[in-house]
């Protein structure tokens, strides 16, 4: 039986892999991880807004036509449009001047692709965590669903909640300092402190978490209506809301923080 923990610095964050593959040889597992991380780097090269020569940057500057760009680009842009429609505009990759900005979605999409590589290779239990955007496969090492702690937006020494998750979870919001999200509709008002979305796919969960972080209660209702996706919102005033599908781990059975 092979298990592996691996951390990869990519896409401006650290992506960690927690994998178990009882049927795989250690070398096969290592090869699968190498393939998965290579894919992450490839996607980073394609979609980086910070590398001036990335296909996305060139597309934004108008130096590259969409039909000449790598096929992933149009795939991601299609996904952005779909996410925009699904979120009724609260996720909008096309809102800002300077061209399309798919960063609210592309990390989740890329992590899903990496996970798919691992699952194809025979990994039976996997968690890929890209800076808090997490996708899981199979059962957690302790058995049953994965337990994911959601950071408390203000109390840095505590968790807001621990959730049971089968597949994907993404959290967006203001952490450590200031706000960093841009409301595509240009509204002002207190942004939520923390917006978490769970669901069967991290690509959409990532985009929807961004949407709720911008649109607060209105976007929350939109997510609640999307089949399979659930939202957990902590508003700027500290009040909370969650859709029925959010599974909290009870405090008594939760041995983790708060301390």
């Amino acid at each position: 039986m092979a298990s592996i923990v691996h951390a990869e610095e990519v896409m401006g964050t650290v992506v960690s892999f927690h994998l178990e593959a009882p049927t795989l040889a250690a070398s096969d597992l290592a090869a699968a991880v190498a393939e998965a991380t290579a894919l992450l780097h490839h996607d980073d090269e394609t979609f980086s807004m910070w590398k001036p020569q990335s296909p996305l940057s060139r597309l934004r500057r108008g130096e590259l036509r969409l039909e000449d760009a790598p096929p992933e680009v149009s795939e991601v842009l299609d996904l952005c449009e779909a996410a925009g429609t699904l979120s009724r505009g609260w996720f909008d990759a096309f809102a800002l001047p300077g061209g399309v900005d798919p960063t609210g979605l592309v990390k989740g999409w890329s992590i899903e692709r990496a996970l798919a590589v691992l699952v194809d290779a025979g990994v039976t239990s996997a968690m890929v965590n890209g800076g808090g955007d997490i996708t899981c496969h199979g059962a957690a090492p302790q058995g049953g669903p994965w337990r994911i702690g959601v950071r408390h937006p203000w109390r840095l020494d505590a968790l807001a909640a621990v959730l049971e998750v089968d597949r994907a979870i993404a959290t967006s919001g203001e952490y450590e300092r200031g706000r960093h999200l841009v409301d595509p509709i240009g509204r002002t008002g207190p942004a939520p402190a923390s917006a978490t979305v769970t669901g069967p796919n991290l690509t959409l969960a990532d985009a929807l978490a961004t949407a709720v972080a911008v649109g607060s209660d209105e976007a929350f209702e939109v997510v609640a209506a999307i089949d399979g996706y659930d939202a957990y919102l902590i508003r700027a005033d500290g009040s909370e809301a969650s859709t029925p599908g959010i599974r909290f781990v009870d405090a008594e059975t939760d041995p983790s923080p708060p301390r």
Binding site: S3, G12, G132, P141, R147, D206, R259
Partner: protein
């Protein structure tokens, strides 16, 4: 004239008072608390959304892994210092101590920032991260959603420390 003299003497007196207070050590936090232990946080942005803003060091990709299958855990207590990771308004490094394959201790060393606010944030974040690493081991929580730059720097440094231990 007289009042000017009063003002100058009083100002110098107040200033000397603060210095004396500090040098006397009774106000240790102002002089010491800052530099000794902790690192800064970084600008917002990493968690999940709008900005994929990469920190300065993210262009260089590095990776490390530890596989429990390929290498049987060595016995005894060992520790290693992770790489220094720069981000936002500072940098930090982590020292990890293992007993066998179990992480028994995670310390932050080489924390450096010039900026008090970042320093305070990091001082609040890092105990959580330390707890997180130890708690995650016990498999009660598998991961954390809503990451920050500080935590990324922390995890990265931790990983590099584990990596060094594995290679020893």
């Amino acid at each position: 004239m007289k009042r000017a003299a009063i003002a100058v003497v009083a100002a110098v007196g107040g200033f000397a008072g603060v210095l004396g207070f500090n040098l006397g050590g009774s106000r240790a936090p102002l002089l010491q608390g800052a530099g000794a232990s902790t690192p800064p946080a970084t600008p917002p942005g990493s968690s999940s959304s709008a900005s994929s803003s990469s920190s300065s060091s993210s262009s260089s990709s590095s990776s490390s892994s530890s596989s429990s299958a390929s290498t049987p855990p060595p016995a005894g207590v060992r520790s290693a210092l992770g790489n220094t990771y720069q981000y936002g308004y500072g940098q930090l490094a982590v020292r990890v101590t293992l007993n066998g394959s179990t992480i028994t201790r995670v310390d932050t060393v080489g924390l450096q920032t010039a900026e008090s606010y970042s320093q305070q944030l990091a001082q609040q974040v890092i105990p959580l991260l330390r707890h997180e690493v130890l708690a995650a081991q016990s498999a009660k929580v598998n991961g954390f959603s809503g990451a920050t730059y500080t935590s990324e720097a922390y995890i990265y440094s931790l990983q590099s420390a584990l990596d060094k231990l594995k290679k020893k």
